[in-house]
């Protein structure tokens, strides 16, 4: 009986791996360089600074860097944190600069360039998969900004 139950459980696990449609549990994290004097912030503040607005304290110390090095990561960030399509988001960023003269959010298509900017500027923050943030000892994970299953 016990052997049958184990076999059944094993089959279920195998089916989940084989037919699960590539669904994967992921965590999206906000990171800064390990020596950054930046504290965790609310998800609303993450959204504020990535829309080019000041955070709820009124300061503008954190410099947000856009991470487009992974299309899936970028899409999840926009959908789950910013709540906008890429087209609307990028147009909104330009519109904000055009209207106010505020600084434009720098977007990085290369992970290497992004990590280099993060290392050089302790005031800068960005977002990435937790799996990437954890393996880099030069980075500090400030907080998880979203987690859930993503279809890959």
């Amino acid at each position: 009986m016990k052997r049958r139950a184990l076999l059944f459980t094993g089959l279920l696990l195998l089916m989940n791996t084989s037919f699960g449609g590539g669904s994967n549990h992921r965590q999206l994290v906000l990171v800064a360089t390990a020596r950054a004097p930046i504290a965790a912030m609310s998800n609303s503040d993450v959204r504020r600074i990535y829309l080019g607005l000041r955070d709820s304290t009124g300061s503008q110390r954190s410099v947000p860097l856009g991470n487009r090095s992974d299309p899936l990561l970028y899409e999840v960030f926009l959908q789950k944190v910013i709540f906008m399509s890429a087209r609307n988001y990028e147009r909104q960023i330009i519109s904000h600069v055009y209207q106010t003269g505020n600084q434009r959010i720098v977007m990085y298509d290369s992970k290497g360039d992004l990590l280099q900017h993060l290392a050089n500027d302790p005031d800068s923050v960005s977002y990435m998969w937790a799996t990437d943030g954890k393996v880099d000892s030069n980075l500090r994970i400030l907080q998880v900004i979203w987690e859930g299953n993503v279809e890959e």
């Binding site: 959204r47 399509s85 087209r87 147009r91 330009i94 003269g101 600084q103």
Partner: protein, 339 residues
């Protein structure tokens, strides 16, 4: 132009100073039954260059437009941030009227449609309202009940009225001509794009028309910009009181004008849009009679295709009721933004 890009490429410095450059080129061809040349295509090219620089608490914004028929300095302003989110500006600005005037203006790529609503047409291009003003502008925002209350208060040097339409006054002459504008807007959620606003303004024009001695215009209005997922609504209503003096005779006329514009994202690249514009009391207005291109009513339908994040093609058709009769137009436009 290449030199301009090299000199003014976006730069951020370690001390927080930065500079930004945006370049909005566009090209369009329009077919219209209005204007006397039948359905002959009217091509046009335009390049709008925006530059911003920030150092310490000072900020400079400049914007210039070069088009096939004109060259304009749209904005040239220097501002001091005297407290967080509060600026005092000196220079030439977009007048704080509705959402369209301050958020899109000459950045054709941002506005989506080929044409602006007629009531907010550019003052140097046949428009009836002073869409630009020079002087002092106090602008800021405050947190209010989880939202953001923003305000603008402008004391301007005035606007002149000539045979060619409206334009800036060349010298400081607050006694003879002036603009005074005030606007307040509210964003219920400070991370949302949705906002509602009210505005009011008084302009004493410097007239250079033999037929008019004096024109005073009061503008009042409300606007809203609302986003629901794929749908964006931009709307505004204007009340105008135009007081004219001719040879010692005074006349006053009042009118209402407004528009409702809807953009809907059909796919990741296609956006459809519609706009309805209307006026009430405009047909007999002595001031509007000075502007031959002012439309009493207009219906616009269009589609925009975003080729990539920097380029878009828009197709637009319109039915327009002019004081002299109906006209039709069709336009195609390429617009872009760099970098």
């Amino acid at each position: 132009m290449a030199l301009l890009f090299v000199m003014a490429a976006p730069v951020a410095y370690a001390n927080g100073d930065y500079r930004e450059l945006l370049f909005f080129p566009s090209a369009h061809a329009e077919y219209s039954t209005h204007g006397g040349d039948g359905m002959a295509p009217r091509p046009g090219l335009a390049a709008d260059v925006f530059f911003a620089s920030s150092s310490n608490k000072f900020r400079i914004l400049t914007e210039a437009l070069a088009a096939t028929d004109d060259v304009h300095l749209e904005r040239a302003q220097i501002g001091f941030e005297f407290s967080p989110k509060q600026f005092l500006w000196l220079g030439r600005f977009h007048s704080p009227l509705d959402y369209w005037n301050t958020h899109y203006n000459h950045a054709g790529f941002l506005q989506g449609s080929v044409h602006r609503p007629n009531i907010i047409e550019y003052d140097g291009h046949g428009g009836t309202l002073p869409t630009h003003a020079s002087g002092l502008l106090l602008a800021g925002e405050r947190n209010l009940g989880g939202g953001i209350l923003a305000y603008d208060l402008l004391l301007g040097n005035g606007t002149k009225l000539t045979e060619k339409g409206l334009g800036p006054v060349g010298k400081i002459s607050l006694g003879e001509t002036s603009n005074l504008f005030a606007r307040a807007s509210f964003r219920p959620d400070d991370t949302s794009l949705t906002q509602y606003g009210v505005f009011a303004g008084q302009t004493n024009f410097a007239t250079q028309l033999a037929s008019l001695d004096d024109v005073k215009q009061f503008i009042g209005g409300v606007y809203a910009y609302k986003v629901w997922l794929s749908l964006r609504i931009t709307t505004a209503g204007f009340f105008l009181n135009n007081a004219l003096t001719t040879g010692g005779t005074h006349s006053t006329s009042r009118l209402l004008a407004g528009y409702l514009h809807a953009d809907y994202e059909l796919t990741s690249q296609w956006t459809g849009y519609m706009r309805y514009e209307d006026t009430l009391g405009a047909r007999d207005d002595g001031y509007l009679a000075l502007f031959s291109d002012f439309a009493l009513r207009r219906g616009v339908v269009g589609a925009r295709f975003d080729i990539n994040p920097h380029h878009a093609i828009s197709l637009e058709t319109a039915v327009i009721q002019m004081p002299g009769g109906m006209s039709h137009s069709a336009a195609i436009q390429w617009s872009a933004v760099y970098p």
